[in-house]
Amino acid sequence: MTEKYKKYNDINELPLHYKPAHVIRTMLDSRQISPEEIKTETLKRIAKIDNKINSFLRLCDINNDSGEKNAFWLNIPIALKDNIATKNIITTAGSRILENHIPIFDATVTKKLKDQNAFIVGKTNLDEFAMGSSTENSAFKKTVNPWDYSCVPGGSSGGSAAAVASGMAYMALGSDTGGSIRQPAALCGVCGMKPTYGRVSRYGLIAFASSLDQIGPFTRDAVDMAHALDAISGHDSKDSTSSDSAVDNYSAAALKGYDFKNLKIGIPEQYFTGGIDAGVLNRVEAAIEEFKKLGATVVKVSLPNSKYAIPVYYLIATAEASSNLARFDGVKYGFRAPEYKNLKEMYMKTREAGFGAEVKRRIILGTYALSSGYYDAYYKKAQKARTLICQDFENAFKKVDVILTPVTPSTAFKFNEKTSDPLAMYMSDIFTISINLASIPAMSIPCGLSENMPVGLQILGNYFQEAKMLAIAAEFQKHTDHHLCMPAI
C-alpha cells in the first residue's frame, strides 16, 4: 500500500508545489526559479490533479505586469473563492442563479492582490452562497478532501482549502461567516484565518450574513498567513463596516516570533467536554502540552454561553441571509425563469429554480425568524444572547493572551454523511461560530493527524490582535513539524 501522506523533515525538503510562499518568494528574488517556471509548474499540477480534487470552478489567467515590483505576492500563484468578485471573470457564489454572472468591478481584496501582481490562477468551489460545511451544496461540482477522496474538504471554502492543501495554489482567499475558512483549513491540514470583523474589506464579497462575513486567507504556514494579511487588510471607503484602526505589520510580527515565557493561554472548559472524537481531542491536548513545554502558562477560562451559539448563530445568520438574498429576483443580474405570467410569478419561479435546497431552507428559516409574531421570540432574543456571547470573550481576554480550542469535533467526514440532517451539519460548526458572533479573530493551524486525517488547533485572539496571534503561531511552527505533513498526491 502506498503512503497516504508524507512528513517532511524541514522546509527545504518540500517539493516545489508544497513549499510555503515565502520560500517561493526567496527563490524568485534570487532567480533560482523564473516567474514563467512557477506559473507553468502550477498549471501543470492543476492539469494533472484537479480532475480528481475539483477545487476550481474555472481557471483564469490574471497576471498583469503593471503591479508593484517589490510586492510579496508578485508572480506567486494564488486562488480566490468564487464569491469574491473578479472584474470580467464569471463569479457564481456556487449558485445556478449566478451561473453566468460577470462582475463589473473587482472586490477590494482582488484589487489589492492585482496591485501586487499576484498570479491569480482561478476561482474555487464553495457551498452555494457560502452556506454549508462540506462544499456539497455547490450547484456545480463536488470538491474532495486531498487526504482522502471519499471525504469532504469541509466548507464552505472547500475549494480554496483543497487547492492549498494539494499544492495547486500557494495561498487562497476564502470567506468565513461561521467557520467557513477555519473548518475546511482544519479538515484539509492547512492554516486558515478569520480576521477581526472589519479588518478586511468585504466590498465585492457576495453577501451571506453581513454582520458575520469576513474574508481571510488559507496558507501553508503562519508566516505566509501574515504576508497574506499584510496584503489584504485595511480600511476601505467602499465598506463602511471596515475598520480604520491602524494595521499592524503582520509579517514583521510573525518573523520576530514570540517569547512563550510571556504567553498566557486560556482553555475554555466548555470546548473540551463531550461530542469531540477522541482522536481530535488527543491531538489538541497534545498541542497544548507542546505550548506548555515551550514555556507558556495555561489557565482555565469559562465561556458559559457557548452552548447557545448554534441557535443564536443560525437565527441571526439566516435572518440576514433572507434579507441579502432578496436581491436575486431575475431582474438586475443572474438567471431568470423562462416562463411566467406576471412579475410576481417571474420572481417566484426564478428563485425556486435558481436556488438550491440549503439556500431555500435558510431563506425560509430566516424569513420565519424575522416575521411578525416570531421576531421577538427568535431574532431579537438571538441578538440579546449574542451580547452574552460577546461578554464571555471580553471577560476571558482580561486574563489571557489567546484561547486555544479544537476547530471541529471530528476529522473530515464522508460525502452524504450529514446532508439529510441539517442539524447534524450545523453542529459541525460548534467550535467556530461563537467567534463570528463576537467579531474576534481566530485561526486554525495543523496540529497532527488522527487516523491519517488532519486535525486543526484553533487560536482565538482579542479584537485586532492578529499580529500577536500570528507571532504565537509562527513561534509554535518553528518548534514543531505538523505543518510539514502533506497528502501524497
Binding site: I104, D244, G334, E352, A385
Partner: protein, 97 residues
Amino acid sequence: MISKDEVMKIAGLAMLELTEEEVLLYSEQLSSLLEHFNQIQSLNLDDIEPTNNALVNFNVLRADIVEPSKSQRTIVSNAPETDGKNFNVPAIIETEE
C-alpha cells in the same frame, strides 16, 4: 412545530415557489431545528441590550464629492433581459382593454 401551511405562507413572503415535496421536507426539518433552537427561550434576557455587531461603526460619513460612475450600459450588462439601457421586466400595471 411548523405546519405545511406556515411553510407555504413564509415561502410566499420570501418569494419562493416551493414544490409539495419541499413544503413537507422543510416543515419537518424546520420543526426539528426550532425545537433545538428553543433552548434560548430559557435565557433571562430582560435587561440585556441586543448586539447587531460587536464592532460596528456608527454613522460613517464621507465628503459629498461627485465621482465618475459606471456607465448605464455596463450596469445593465448582467441583466437577463435588457435593451442595453434598461432592465426589462414584465408589465406591472395592468392596462384596461
